[in-house]
Symmetry: C2
Subunit: 227 residues, 2 copies
């Protein structure tokens, strides 16, 4: 499609008429009910977008670089032409999960909701980059189950000592002083992925190299093979 839709097209658009509509077999009082087509499928969206939908699930300690990598990767993929969207604390914790705290139960429900939303975006043809500490393997497994085939667990790996030395928001300092309860890595567990699809070692690779590796990973896994 062109970058701006011609409005004439909107008013003169020709329609294909099909049979598949849930209203087709209803008794309705209004006359001349015309069923047009069926739900837009994932295949329709893949054909339009040129790539599969799916989830890149980033998991790692606070300060491991998840959000930075997610945002840089989103920009790189977007510039290439992918449909891509980041879910992270910035757009989830104040909205969808605003009624949840950081207890184990609330963390689990938070990740459950994000997993379901990721599945919706993937179903809309998007590559979702979900960047959350998501410390429990069982929670990540449930997100995988919600998303189906296109789920890729990406371990954003960095030693606790490195993350703590970065401490961009001063959270580790606060956690060490006991001012933040249940802080992952300090006073709450982090279960590293047992078999992630991909690992980025942000202690060994800089952001640019990490993102380049992820772009290649995406190309290998989300582009439809032509031959």
């Amino acid at each position: 499609m062109s970058s701006v839709l011609p409005t004439t097209l909107l008013h003169n658009n020709k329609l294909l008429v099909g049979e598949n509509s849930s209203m087709a077999d209803q008794t309705v009082k209004s006359t001349n009910i015309t069923a047009v087509e069926s739900r837009v499928t994932l295949q329709d969206r893949i054909k339009r977008g040129g790539h599969r939908g799916g989830v890149l699930w980033f998991t790692g300690l606070s300060g491991s670089g998840k959000s930075t990598l997610a945002i840089e990767l989103e920009r790189r993929l977007f510039n290439i032409g992918y449909n891509v969207y980041v879910l992270d604390g910035d757009n989830v914790r104040h909205g969808l999960s605003s009624n949840l705290g950081f207890s184990p139960e609330d963390r689990t429900e938070n990740i459950r909701r994000i997993g379901e939303v990721s599945a919706l975006f993937a179903n809309a043809g998007f590559i979702v980059i979900a960047a959350f500490i998501s410390p429990y393997q069982a929670d990540r497994d449930r997100a995988r189950e919600a998303a189906g085939d296109g789920f890729h667990e990406i371990h954003v790996d960095a030693d606790l000592s490195l993350c703590e030395s970065r401490d961009p928001k001063g959270l580790y300092q606060k956690a060490r002083r006991g001012e933040i309860p249940e802080f992952t890595g300090i006073s709450a567990p982090y279960e590293a992925p047992t078999s992630p699809e991909f690992t980025v070692d942000t202690g060994a690779m800089d952001v640019d190299k990490s993102v380049t590796a992820l772009v290649e990973y995406v190309a290998e896994n989300f582009i439809q093979q032509q031959e």
Copy 2:
């Protein structure tokens, strides 16, 4: 973009290097940290997609035609080239809201979550068609607040008697027999919108005409003016 991304482009993509990165001012142990770009903005997405993002919030009684209209409208808009996605009971009640029932509190939380997810999709440049009974005005107002500017309340209007005569899933019959508690219109209230942006009277207009009216409404409200 073309319908299939050339994979060569993916590996040779040139990048613009900017200053805006949350990692740029962090002390990190790895060397040569390169901040590339900032988060993809809604404006970037609008430029790519050729239309605004936003929410078409369909509200109406069970059997008023919300889902049918939503799915037909999605198909029409998709075929024209819009980025569009339907949220309805089919893809929300078994996932995101699977841990909610139909009490007033649970309905409110259900609509709250859907409102937040709609806002995320709108922020990703999509036109979201949210098709839910959503009987309470306060809940719809909260969804409007979550979405911001691009929220359009669409009343899918049909008399209770008409909806009951359609009764595609036999729900009204069950509700009349008392087998479904808190059924909107029978044993639970429906608060019709006080000032919806648009009303579709599915008792007076057939599906095809209703969808055509909605396509025109979308063109008027979601296409960027050129002059």
